[in-house]
Symmetry: C2
Subunit: 234 residues, 2 copies
């Protein structure tokens, strides 16, 4: 978390978030702050509640894991405000960026994101699978370093296998892959593997997968993508 985000939380009258994330930052709350923990599925309700309290004149911090602007709560709050005919000024909104899962994962395994990259969520809850598949093909074909968010849930298990098959069509089976779960947390798990063996590891909703580009190499437990396409010995 950045010092700016920490200060915003410290100054808020109300802190709203998913209970697990609030637990992680409990030490930062100050006496007298209103803390409202909501279950993980109720993102829209959290946004609505935050706006309601802000309209009462309270300063509200909506906490999101990673970067709130990347698949996070910032967009939900702004969407909700927009649907209410918000004028853009009252209530006043500020977005504080943070370290998103692909950065946390990358920093734990080396420097896989040194060249053009993309992020694709494999969750088809709100996005048709055809759109996701189209993006996987585009990313694989155009040799983007690719981070996969939400790769697998208890009920949704086929998407990661399809993603692997698509990448194998365009990229070497030996392409380095990082499978990172709960980066920087006590239960962190890191696996370096290859595209061919991607689905052999333990993968769930807390996992981020990074697939290298054609120049990415594994060296002594580090993943390195060179800056350019010239002068790389391979």
């Amino acid at each position: 978390m950045t010092p700016a985000a920490q200060a915003a939380i410290a100054q808020a009258d109300v802190v709203i978030g998913y209970s697990l994330y609030l637990e992680l930052i409990r030490s930062r709350f100050r006496p007298g702050q209103i803390i409202e923990a909501l279950p993980i599925t109720q993102e829209r309700q959290r946004a609505e509640r935050a706006i309601e309290l802000a309209q009462w004149g309270l300063t509200v911090a909506v906490v999101s894991s990673g970067d709130c602007g990347i698949y996070g709560m910032a967009g939900l709050v702004l969407e909700q405000l927009r649907s209410q005919g918000w004028d853009g000024n009252v209530p006043e909104v500020q977005v504080f960026p943070g370290i998103t899962a692909l950065q946390a994962a990358a920093s734990r395994v080396g420097a896989p994101l040194m060249h053009d990259f993309c992020a694709i969520s494999l969750s088809d809850l709100l996005t048709p699978w055809e759109v996701i598949e189209h993006r996987l093909i585009a990313a694989a074909q155009a040799d983007f370093v690719t981070a996969l968010y939400n790769p697998r849930s208890q009920t949704r298990t086929q998407q990661i296998t399809t993603a692997q098959r698509i990448f194998l069509t365009y990229r070497n089976p030996e392409t380095p892959v990082a499978i990172v779960r709960s980066a920087y947390r006590p239960d962190e798990q890191i696996t370096l593997t290859t595209l061919a063996k991607l689905t052999e590891g333990a993968i769930d909703m807390l996992t981020t997968i990074i697939i290298g580009n054609q120049s990415t190499r594994i060296h002594a437990n580090w993943i390195i993508t060179p800056r350019g396409y010239l002068g790389f010995a391979g």
Copy 2:
């Protein structure tokens, strides 16, 4: 900068970086630290110098703007170590992620990165233009929210016009675009515009451009990309 990165700099014996970035964090140096400022073009020399000093047994902090793992210094240091036959352990390396330009830019204009996105550098100094053009086409076709790094330099002015033309082939001319220069710095400049008018604004190497996807909308000076493709009124 995260508290973890701040602590790493505070604990280092030597801080190495581009002079302008070192100037920005001057207040964090402690008495007695060795500070080595090198010109902006000498990235490889900075990496080599850092490794040399680390091999003497000193703790060295290599400072990079944004996220050192995204088009930053982390990859150069690891590449250089790799070319020297590094065993992955000595000298010990840690990578501290930070807020990269696309996140800083996004947070200043709303929440454009709420759906799948990619980052493409338009600099063809180390990457053949055909590779970059291929990625632009893939990103435009597959409807990624797209962040363009290094969009224009004094000598390299055509790439951004070509990128605009490619995106206009696949995306609505009214697609929202954010042009953000020096986010969070005193000389910050923010322009919200459209794909059709992208090249009318002032664009240089310190600018990051974010092009929305087909669902991205401008609302009262905020750019919002909805979470999914379902249930968006448009």
